[in-house]
């Protein structure tokens, strides 16, 4: 492939364009100038003096948008930094990500928001939006200064990783977030019910002798937050929905008119708890991988719109932290670099959804969920684009990983479909 690193004005010609506003893929060509899309024509080739990238083999889509990434900086730089996380995002086809607030210090102060935003801009490999913490220190006790956080640039509020146990605090948080027009992302988990749990509760947890978290631990929490969203009229986004019951709760709350959205992760959509058989700590996540019926319900939720979008819950942990006994290992897996390939292989290639649906779930839909710009291919819009080869068969290898942490169970997996690279404001970053 031509080196597009330094080209600032060019045409991408003959690609199948996955425009989320369209009904289907269409062959077309896109002109990029000074970081913006200046022209879109629905023809295979163009006559121009500018350099032309022949993209006939590829699908051109808006750069992916992830609402749920843990960048670990500040505080846990041995797991991930804004730099390595941005590189991982770009390699996974993402041009915009939202980073979560469970850093150290937590993102509960404007100074932390500003630090992250500045660092991300200096690095310039991915747009990084910031979720501020819902409560001081993410302790679920005192609500933060949402006005100040918003002025510093946060796009949402979340104590992700922790549930706000006190319902009065959560009510206040929702009311006050609503005042400042900020959506609240809730990590729904009754921590008493899931206390010391290692995986999903069920036959496999009984077999393996690992303490299970029942689906009810998630569903009780989803239920309460849906009720509080209705009570307050606030914008609630339910993070990483993983159980059939939680999908149903969100579905019902939406029908009642609550302003609720929900996301599902690539791993919860494609993997189930039977895989924990070998006690691979890279499969330990929170919420845990659930049963086959839950996976089916999540997919049904994607199809009927109950699940609004896909979010990775990219959660880096060092090899040192993961290379221990199962119950000593922290929960989380990285996901930015494999999300598209994993979902394309399991959902698109197997006929569950089509490619354009997947693109929507990874672009315009997450962007709309948190009212972020991006996720579209539009004239005069920023040239944030991803180039995909849906036909490429490849094996995911550890050496490909750009994230600082390597905690993924997918090393060695065979995928169909691969991200070739992204244009961020027209600047090419190769993923292969």
């Amino acid at each position: 492939m031509i080196d597009w690193k330094d080209k600032r004005e060019f045409w991408i010609a003959g690609a199948k364009i996955a425009d989320p506003e369209a009904e289907r893929l269409r062959v077309g060509s896109v002109c990029v100038q000074k970081g913006r899309i200046t022209e879109i024509v629905w023809q295979k080739s163009v006559e121009t003096d500018l350099p032309v990238l022949d993209a006939e083999r590829f699908v051109l889509a808006p750069g992916f948008v992830d609402l749920h990434a843990h960048l670990r900086e500040p505080g846990y730089e041995e797991r991930e930094t804004i730099e390595t996380g941005s590189a991982a995002a770009a390699a996974g086809g993402y041009t915009s990500i939202v980073c979560m607030a469970n850093t150290n210090p937590a993102i509960d102060d404007p100074s932390v928001v500003e630090y992250i935003s500045c660092r991300a801009q200096q690095i310039g490999r991915c747009r990084v939006y910031v979720a501020g913490a819902l409560t001081k220190g993410r302790l679920g006790e005192i609500i933060n200064e949402y006005f100040h956080l918003k002025r510093a640039g946060v796009v949402a509020l979340s104590d992700d990783g922790a549930y706000v146990t006190n319902s009065q605090v959560m009510r206040s948080a929702l009311e006050y977030a609503n005042l400042h027009a900020l959506p609240v992302i809730s990590h729904c988990e009754d921590a008493f019910l899931s206390s010391a749990s290692q995986m999903n509760e069920g036959y496999t947890s009984t077999r393996l002798g690992l303490k299970g978290a029942p689906a009810a631990a998630e569903e009780i929490a989803v239920s309460r937050d849906c009720m509080l969203a209705q009570l307050t009229g606030a914008r609630l986004h339910v993070a990483h929905v993983s159980t059939a019951g939680a999908v149903e709760l969100v579905r019902k709350a939406k029908k009642k008119g609550a302003r609720i959205t929900a996301e599902a992760t690539p791993h919860h959509l494609t993997l189930d708890d039977r895989l924990l058989d070998g006690y691979d700590t890279n499969l330990k996540v929170n919420p845990p991988l659930r049963g086959v019926k839950d996976v089916e319900a999540l997919r049904a939720g994607l199809l009927d719109g109950t699940i609004d979008c896909i979010a990775t819950d990219h959660a880096p942990h060092s090899e040192i932290d993961k290379d221990v006994e199962f119950d000593e290992a922290p929960a989380g897996m990285i996901g930015l670099e494999t999300a598209f390939a994993q979902l394309h292989t399991e959902l698109v290639a197997k006929g569950v959804i089509d490619l354009l649906d997947l693109v929507k779930l990874m672009t315009v839909k997450p962007a709309a969920t948190l009212a972020l710009p991006g996720g579209r291919i539009a004239r005069e819009g920023p040239a944030d684009l991803v180039l995909l080869d849906p036909a490429e068969e490849w094996t995911f290898e550890k050496r490909f990983i750009r994230s600082r942490s390597k905690n993924t169970p997918l090393v060695g997996a065979r995928f169909t479909g691969r991200v070739q690279g992204v244009f961020l404001e027209g600047k090419w970053q190769s993923a292969v």
Binding site: E201, G209, L210, E325
Partner: protein, 366 residues
């Protein structure tokens, strides 16, 4: 790696195995060493031929085939006799080094393994959580890598984390014998329970075994369920619903039956296995008081009257007398609890011997 010749050795009939251990030389003459040449009492009543045991590790009973379990039990039956001798030692594992790594407190399992190893003439080192590098914060992997670097042939490990042995097996070339992992498996306990049942009840196919107590947190229950159901026994579990794990009825080959009424649970039992109830479960609010536990699930003479006359009473120990088991039962004539302890040594000898594989050549006494 085992050679074909060694395979043959693994396929020896147990009489032959016993003969090797009693010091009989190829020519059939007495070795002159003070090992009596008597055959151990034949108690199993199982088939004469024993299938080869070709596993490097014993991680759990779930992975084993019924025939492999029978091989271990048959071998244990022959080994039991060694502990009856005036000189309780055979050279089967001479020159082998075994590390006993105990990350959890254990008295009987550890002593039982150590005795088994010594009676097989292995060199042993023991290592426990207190006073070791574990308390200095070293990872399991590093600790065991160090043991590996010292060229240990076998690691007997007890660990509080379920799956810890599988984790080790990923990078350790020594054989691993599971002496209990978290709430997952305690295979040698399961085997010694089965050995004891077999001695009293004969073949286990079709026998009814009831396990009573904290099923959820019990590795003994799981190993019993897998081992017993594989050889065709029917298992019933009984205990507080708060300590009954999810979908337990699917566990084991063909599943198990749940019965919360202890009298009904033991009504047709050939053996009952009473699990230790731990005080910490009360703190976790899984049952309200020891007093109430004893009233509802304690095995008393009055409760045991519901079981058939021949039903034996087992307990993996240590017992909480007056909590899960009444004093009269613990000391009664249906209790085989100390036999379990005796059999434990024989089972562990059999497991160590079989897992060591092909150690006969160096094991012939001079």
């Amino acid at each position: 790696m085992r050679t074909e010749g060694e395979e043959d050795e693994k396929g020896l009939r147990k009489e032959e195995i016993a003969a090797r251990f009693s010091g009989k030389r190829g020519g059939g003459t007495s070795s002159g060493v003070p090992f009596p040449q008597t055959r151990p009492a034949q108690v199993s009543g199982r088939g004469k031929h024993t299938v080869p045991f070709n596993r490097k590790h014993l991680l759990g009973l779930e992975d084993l085939a019924a025939e492999e379990i029978t091989t271990i039990l048959d071998t244990a039956d022959t080994f039991k006799e060694i502990s009856e001798r005036p000189i309780k030692k055979v050279p089967a594992l001479r020159g082998k080094t075994i590390a006993n790594v105990f990350y959890e407190n254990s008295t009987r399992t550890r002593i039982s393994f150590e005795l088994a190893e010594k009676r097989l003439s292995a060199d042993t080192v023991s290592f426990s959580k207190t006073g070791s590098s574990v308390s200095k914060g070293e990872t399991l992997r590093d600790t065991v890598e160090n043991i590996r670097a010292m060229k240990v042939d076998m690691v007997v490990m007890r660990h509080g984390s379920s799956g810890a042995h599988r984790f080790l097996a990923n990078f350790l070339d020594a054989s691993i014998v599971n002496a209990g992992d978290g709430q997952h498996e305690h295979p040698t306990q399961g085997l010694l329970d089965m050995m004891t049942m077999r001695q009293h009840l004969g073949a286990l196919d079709g026998k009814n075994v009831t396990i009573i107590g904290d099923i959820m947190h019990s590795r003994v229950a799981r190993s019993n369920i897998w081992g017993l159901t594989k050889v065709g026994a029917k298992v019933t579990v009984c205990g507080p619903s708060t300590m009954m794990p999810a979908e337990i009825e699917r566990l084991g080959e063909g599943g198990v039956t749940i019965e919360y009424d202890i009298r009904k649970a033991i009504a047709g039992a050939d053996a009952i296995n009473i699990l230790r109830i731990q005080l910490e479960r009360q703190k976790a609010r899984l049952f309200p008081s020891m007093r109430e536990y004893f009233e509802v699930f304690g095995v008393t003479p009055e409760v045991l009257a519901s079981a058939p006359e021949h039903c034996i009473v087992m307990h993996p120990g240590p017992m909480n007398r007056g909590v899960e088991i009444a004093q009269e039962i613990a000391d009664g004539d249906r209790a085989v609890i100390l036999e379990q302890v005796t059999n434990g040594v024989a089972v562990r000898m059999a497991v160590l011997f079989l897992v060591a594989g092909g150690s006969f050549d160096s094991g012939t006494p001079e």
